[in-house]
Point group: C2
Chain length 406, copies 2
Amino acid sequence: MSIKTVSGGVCAAKGFRASGVHCGIRKNRTKKDIALILSEVRAHAAAVYTTNLVKGAPLTVTKDHIADGFAQAVICNSGNANTCNANGIEIAEQMSELVAKELSISAKDVVVASTGVIGQPLNIEPIAAGIPMLAKELSANGGEAAAEGIMTTDTVKKEIAVEFTLGGKTCRMGGIAKGSGMIHPNMATMLVFITTDAAISAEMLEKALKHDVQSTFNMTSVDGDTSTNDMVTILANGMAGNAEITADGADFAEFMKALNTVTVYLCRMIAGDGEGATKLLECKVTGAATEQTAKTVAKSVICSSLLKAAMFGADANWGRVLCAIGYSGANVDVNKVDVAFRSAKGTVAVCKNGAGVEFSEEIAKEILLEKEIEILVELNSGDCQATAFGCDLTYEYVKINGDYRT
Amino acid sequence: MSIKTVSGGVCAAKGFRASGVHCGIRKNRTKKDIALILSEVRAHAAAVYTTNLVKGAPLTVTKDHIADGFAQAVICNSGNANTCNANGIEIAEQMSELVAKELSISAKDVVVASTGVIGQPLNIEPIAAGIPMLAKELSANGGEAAAEGIMTTDTVKKEIAVEFTLGGKTCRMGGIAKGSGMIHPNMATMLVFITTDAAISAEMLEKALKHDVQSTFNMTSVDGDTSTNDMVTILANGMAGNAEITADGADFAEFMKALNTVTVYLCRMIAGDGEGATKLLECKVTGAATEQTAKTVAKSVICSSLLKAAMFGADANWGRVLCAIGYSGANVDVNKVDVAFRSAKGTVAVCKNGAGVEFSEEIAKEILLEKEIEILVELNSGDCQATAFGCDLTYEYVKINGDYRT
């Protein structure tokens, strides 16, 4: 069985329409600031949420709404996080009700999400004006508009769709995501909306999502800040007509494979478009005694401000990789560690058994000047592996975040 | 009893001489790159070390040398960390032997430290040439030269000395420190050398140091990277003539107070001179149920890249404070949290009971444009408190670390 990429984003799967418009939350009228996704029929739904104790009001409302395993629409605004506001829950519920009324569905079937500044009251008026506009614009070609509507400091829209086969039936799955700051491992680390027409029970859908995020969104860090508003949701409306997946097996494995294709693509998009980033970094740890060790090491390396700054400068300062491994908290024999940098321009080994090896600074520079860099860490202590996704640290990151609110 | 500031740095206490020279480890001949401190008599010694699994060779050697509770001299070079080098231990031992021979003391009484780039072999030749120069320059006025000799990316030298009284005898204590990157809580987070003429047993000296660092150096973060080479050492030569402190009591309390004066001063110096920093940040957490909660919250806030960037931009983006509290891992009722920003220009309350309050952006900007900013977090859940020391995140940090090795 094979998985192929198709166009259409969140509308690639049967029965999904979407839209995105500017409703006035953001001052810049050329920027869309609200998006809607609708499934023709009620869909099984699952989500994972931030582990931050400070949670955006929309998350609380969404959690309640999908507790029964169903959802039919997603409403998401950018420009304001609706977090740390006294009336946050009320506003998020109002958003659901407005969508429900406009689309003639149940308010309890609406997933609500907000992203943007924390702690500024969210005015319902532009949203109330925007929802009828969104409903009117809903279309099977609206995936791209929806992807644009959820962007914050993102510089590119993030969408993907794939086609795969379950029991002879062609299924599709698509996703959109927004980055690009306040992104850190150990939670669902961004806003991601995935749609599929595959038939799968709510239980198996949740199982698939929870398993997948461990190696994808939970391994992605832009700046070490775990946001208050992040969630990843998936809606599966069953319109592909396959026999519903209700247990482990070949179909579930194929579904997981499709899901992982979508999520890894979005993780790489999010990391590569991290605030101010000029490079996508992937730390690939191999030879670990346990998967947890591999993950801990990969995350520690990808989160090191010093390494991130060195990558920005295309400086093969591998001592910072060793340093980050050393303070990761993982139980590693540092005298067995090998490190190399790899890109489209080739591979350069820089450290063997925990000590430096001679290498050409010129070749290293050429390799590190590429836009996608792999940091290869071989622990030589077992068979487990993990990958973490991140980006470099740049002047632009500081600029973006030095005066974000104005 | 009172503690007053005096001049002289590490030479303020009786019987200590110091020096710093350029020996050739650094290319820039105007920068000193090696420092020496000598006590007239063998001194009780204690140290705390980095928790990084990757440890600089000098730390291993120092640990061995002061295992008997004694030291007489400190040798420290900058420009090269002597870490992740196959012959690191050998070089560090050679440094001790060269010092011992030159000063006619035991090599086992030498504290060795190195700071700079990781993973580049350290050539003993410039050091062998520098040690006789250092010995010749040794002087009771050499504290400043020593403070300069250990600087890396530091922009200002860091030294302080205080005078206090134990049992009617005047005692002195002085310290020097180097920052300014790769500094993070949960370990002895930098190179700090403290000298005192107070008489105190090796056991009580270690107890004092270990207790003090918990609220000072372990609460200081510049960039979240826990270095491989950090240590804080203290030498107490007893030449003040006070009755030796051998147990808890009033004298020990006074000694601790003097030590804390020295260490808090150095922490603030280190944080304020963090790589690229334009501001010293102090997060003061009060009203915590436990001291650990207060510390965890304070450290999380001071480490947030997003908050650090906002402080650089003098932007009162308090949502990022709440966010960092929420993901700190501490058990906090976020609905009880109050936040304010304070500087020499005044105080502005920005959050009450976890939600925003109206405030003047103009006044907030004026307060945040100052060089020293306090972030006040009241948890309203108990009587415990803690302070963490840090700095803002700036373009310059990225610049310094984008091409550190060249």
